[in-house]
């Protein structure tokens, strides 16, 4: 018998070697208590959270929590059904209305996760004979959506407008074209030149899908994302987003002005063949989204935090993923996985949690310590974080 698990042997060995060096396992941390959007207890130690994507700190918003409790009382713990059968409650409609208002778009469709939103929309709209042209650094859910569909998949170098244009121009006459981009790329925290890329896509007759998972809530005048910020949201055919970042719960969505969009509810398999979100989740999401429409002050504070941390870490001598802060993600580049894991552990002992990111999730084989800031981090916490990085960086020999 061939052991089907033998293909994982190299990874098992790599992991064993890493743990044999005595380092704490970076991929099995348990949050024992969560005290606020920015503080939890891990291994009995109070820890500042700097790797949660909880950009707007909505997880503990009193109105959000109250809405969830009320929905639990009124509608129960779960729907036990598909959106197209018994799984659409008043709350599912209400959160879709909130999304339509938030983005000022005609249609909104809520999925059980952001992963499923990309998987479902991409695999359904781009079929056999169509072409998907996408950035090579796209999120796994985008790649999986491509793989699940039958379209021809054509990647181009990250944020390279010319490479994208060349590929679009080579697509056979008459074929359907979908360009897939992200507003913020989550590994390095850099943004896409959407204005130019969308112009080129449209000139070449392509429809455009933009994943704004990491920009919703705080980039753009109304928090609609990078496309809004660059003044091109009207040219985006499909915006994909998530409730598991700024919104502070779980779920995914697509908003669109396409006149035929509602047919997606019948033909999109990751929407149809899974249970819908629990009533408490859609209630918290709905309340959170409506509050995010009026969160200008929080957005401003989050930008201050991002700029302060970026400058602070750079001044201490760390190598960062972007020259300037472009989002609420600051990626600190590590020389290799071993020292990255050692630095991650040193930070945890200081009382700071960040994400350790490694290939294949990262571009160009990099090991990153990825920091994501929250609007609820105080200015003092950010200074504390910079001090922790300095001490850990010196202890591990990175700076």
């Amino acid at each position: 018998m061939t052991d089907l698990f033998s293909k994982f042997d190299p990874l098992i060995e790599m992991r064993a070697n890493l743990l044999a060096s005595g380092v704490e396992d970076p991929f099995s941390l348990v949050m024992e208590k969560v005290l606020s959007p920015t503080v939890a207890v891990c291994n009995g130690r109070e820890t500042i959270l700097l790797g949660t994507y909880n950009y707007m700190g909505m997880t503990f918003d009193p109105d959000v929590i109250e809405a969830g409790k009320q929905a639990l009382d009124d509608f129960g713990a779960g729907t036990t059904g598909s959106r197209v059968l018994n799984g659409t409650y008043a709350g599912h409609r209400a959160v879709e209305e909130a999304l339509k208002e938030f983005y000022a778009m005609d249609h909104a469709m809520v999925f059980s996760t952001g992963y499923q939103a990309n998987l479902g929309i991409i695999s359904t709209i781009a079929g056999k004979g169509d072409y998907i042209v996408l950035d090579i650094d796209s999120h796994a859910s985008i790649w999986d959506g491509c793989k699940m569909g039958d379209a021809e998949v054509v990647p181009f170098r990250h944020n390279d407008i010319e490479a994208m244009e060349k590929r679009l121009k080579r697509i056979p006459e008459g074929a359907g074209k979908l360009v897939v981009l992200e507003g913020v790329y989550s590994m390095l925290g850099d943004i896409a030149p959407l204005k130019e890329m969308i112009r080129v896509a449209k000139e070449n007759g392509a429809m455009v899908l933009v994943d704004e998972a990491h920009s919703m809530g705080f980039i753009g005048p109304n928090g609609r994302g990078v496309a809004e910020d660059q003044g091109v949201l009207d040219d985006v055919d499909f915006v994909i987003g998530t409730f598991s970042k700024s919104v502070g719960t779980v779920g995914g969505f697509c908003v669109s002005n396409h006149p035929k969009f509602e047919i997606m509810r019948l033909v999109c398999r990751p929407y149809v063949f899974t249970a819908s979100l629990p009533p408490s989740v859609v209630a918290t999401a709905c309340t959170s989204i409506r509050k995010l429409m009026h969160a200008g002050n929080k957005r401003a504070h989050l930008w201050e935090n991002s700029k302060t941390l970026h400058k602070g870490l750079r001044d201490k001598g760390f190598q960062l993923g972007t020259e300037e802060p472009q989002s609420a993600i600051i990626a600190v580049i590590m020389p290799d996985l071993e020292r990255g894991a050692a630095m991650w552990e040193a930070l945890l002992h200081e009382g700071l949690y960040v994400n350790l990111a490694r290939p294949p999730a990262t571009p160009a084989g990099m090991t990153l310590l990825r920091c994501s800031l929250c609007a609820e981090h105080s200015a003092e916490q950010v200074q504390t974080i910079i001090g922790m990085f300095e001490r850990a960086g010196k202890a591990v020999g990175i700076i």
């Binding site: 072409y131 090579i136 021809e152 998949v153 170098r157 060349k166 080579r170 294949p360 160009a364 084989g365």
Partner: protein, 79 residues
Amino acid sequence: MDRAATAAKIAALIEPFNKKGVEVTDTTTFAGDLEFDSLTVMDFVAAIEDDFDIIISMNQQAEIENYGQLIDAVVKLQG
């Protein structure tokens, strides 16, 4: 362009990516013999696409494991 001319062009294009100077024949594999990682594959494919003005989609790349198959595919894609 016939197979020989296509092969000659690809031989020139692969040179900067063949860092270890592996001897390349029709049966040389990209992942195994040449040890191309995903980024190298993307850059190498882009070089061929730009030179021949063709698209080699990821779906087509999945069918191409060795050098001979690549030449055959590029000959075919030129129509």
